[in-house]
């Protein structure tokens, strides 16, 4: 580049906590291989991932619910390039899965011969789990 310039960075590192609701979600996933949500009885909404409050009525939520590993693909995309626009050797599919019986769901990798909106999928869990969203390997039919 011909303009006079200076290379710099804004160095800073971070530790992000999972939070009150997130702690329980990831512990259940890690220890018991389960997905859990919180329910607002007043609004009849089950939040997955769980939240400690209802964003509609602002109630503090303490009703925990086991929810299935199954859900439905609502939207998806087949990714062909990486974040710097380099072509990937193998495209992969990422999608949003609405977890059955809930108003929420998860964004995750989806592995299937052909991915369609409306298709039923199930979370495939890793054996060695650490309490991370990557404890789910991907969703598959």
């Amino acid at each position: 580049m011909s303009f006079t310039h200076w290379h710099g960075d804004m160095e800073a590192q971070y530790i992000y906590t999972a939070g009150i609701a997130g702690e329980r979600f990831f512990r259940e996933l890690k220890d018991n291989g389960k997905l859990v949500g919180t329910r607002c009885p007043k609004c009849d909404i089950t939040y997955v991932p769980p939240r400690m409050y209802c964003e509609k009525c602002f109630a503090e939520l303490d009703e925990w619910k086991d929810v299935p590993l199954e859900g439905e693909v609502v939207a998806h995309t087949e990714v062909h390039v990486d974040i710097e626009d380099n072509k990937l050797a193998e495209p992969f599919v990422i999608g949003f899965v609405r977890i059955d019986g809930t108003q929420g769901g998860l964004v995750h990798y989806i592995k299937a011969p052909e991915v369609r909106n409306g298709m039923k999928v199930k979370a495939v869990l890793k054996d060695d789990r650490v309490g991370s969203i990557l404890d789910i390997e991907h969703f598959a039919p």
């Binding site: 997130g22 939040y47 991932p49 995309t77 087949e78 062909h80 964004v107 909106n117």
Partner: protein, 376 residues
């Protein structure tokens, strides 16, 4: 407004200065006449300067004045003039200078690395998400629900990039065919290279004045007649992506203020936010300018061409002129002003527009800002 380019030599302050100076000259005012300054700019991470509002202040003419930086992601492009409007409408200022700036090229090697940090750090970031993914999913959902063909979306990119040939600031003006768009590189299906607007550097500015002051400056008044804004939950996964309800709420707020009851009939020219071609269609529907799923049909029929019944993005939009996030105020709010004032030159729509609307969209697919103007 300044030219929009991938990388400009000017610093953010200098771009802000250039745009502000142009706006003051067009209005016949000097900096001393300005009572307050609103600066709109997107994440600090683009320019790479934390508290960039404070950094840009002197270039934006804000030194020693009441000064406010606003930021609502891409929505900043139309929210900035809304924030300026309340300074004047409240009686706090007779003249408010609104400046919008973005220098995305500072973020190296690509501003995507800054976008990589807008996600939930626990739920999303371990998946190494790319911003294009969620737009691809939204586009996929929109196409699925209404059975829309890709070529009917590509038409928007063709139209806007062609309109941009008449814009002196344009970065990506081009005369393309639908096939060119459909054959461009696939990024995240259904999003391809020519479906997207490019990151840019640029700045724009506008002057808002009280009626009393404005009448002394010009005979051709353009009034801000309606403003609305609305944001939905960051948990975008809890709603259906096929329709931007938050844009509709912002639009209804603005229509109510502007006393507009039948938007398709009463709006003469529109500048909805078009960072992606499908977003123009999505936002036409959100702005209630047509029924859900009808925007691709109107586009196919030529209604949204510059000489159509409802010209949409006559500026060339973000797709053709460029996408320096907040600074796209220059092709949204400023364009509607120029169209209504009859100052749009080669871009002037021929339908003698009396009422125009502009809209911007941002944050995590959750924010809509809407401004309606009418000729005095």
């Amino acid at each position: 407004m300044t030219i929009f380019r991938r990388r400009l030599q000017e610093t953010g302050k200098e771009m802000s200065y250039e745009a502000s100076k142009m706006a003051l000259e067009e209005a016949g005012l000097e900096l001393k006449d300005v009572d307050s300054v609103v600066l709109g700019s997107a994440p600090d991470a683009f320019d790479g300067i934390h508290l960039k509002g404070e950094n840009l202040l002197d270039g934006a003419g804000g030194a020693g004045k009441p000064y406010l930086r606003v930021f609502v992601g891409g929505g900043t492009a139309v929210f900035s003039p809304i924030a300026g409007w309340w300074h004047v409408a409240s009686g706090l200022a007779d003249v408010c200078l609104v400046v919008a700036e973005e220098k995305m090229s500072s973020c190296f090697p690509h501003p995507q690395s800054a976008f990589g940090h807008i996600w939930d750090p626990i739920l999303d970031r371990p998946l190494k998400p790319n911003l294009v993914w969620i737009f691809a999913m939204e586009m996929n959902r929109y196409m699925t629900v209404h059975g829309i063909k890709k070529e009917d979306i590509a038409r928007v990119a063709v139209k806007n990039k062609r309109n941009a040939l008449d814009h002196p600031c344009a970065q990506l003006a081009a005369d393309l065919t639908i096939e060119d768009v459909l054959n461009s590189e696939v990024l995240a299906w259904p999003v391809q290279m020519l479906d997207i607007s490019p990151p840019s550097d640029g700045a724009s500015a506008m002057i808002l004045a009280s009626e009393e002051v404005a009448k002394k400056l010009t005979d051709d008044l353009v009034y801000l007649s309606g403003a609305g804004w609305c944001i939905d939950s960051t948990m975008w996964t809890d709603r259906d992506l096929y329709f931007p309800e938050y844009v509709a709420r912002a639009a209804k707020m603005a229509y109510k203020m502007a006393k507009i009851e039948n938007p398709p009939k009463e709006i003469d020219v529109a500048e909805p936010y078009d960072p992606f071609d499908y977003k123009e269609l999505h936002h036409m529907e959100g702005l209630l300018l047509c029924d859900k799923g009808e925007a691709p049909i109107l586009t196919r029929e030529g209604v949204t061409e510059r000489d159509g019944d409802l010209p949409v993005c006559p500026s060339g939009g973000l797709l053709g002129v460029g996408n320096p996030i907040a600074a796209t105020m220059g092709i949204k709010a400023c364009e509607i002003y120029w169209q209504l004032a009859g100052k749009a030159g080669k871009r002037q729509v021929p339908n003698d527009p009396q009422v125009g609307i502009c809209q911007a969209w941002g944050d995590l697919m959750q924010y809509g800002s809407v401004l309606i103007m009418r000729r005095g």
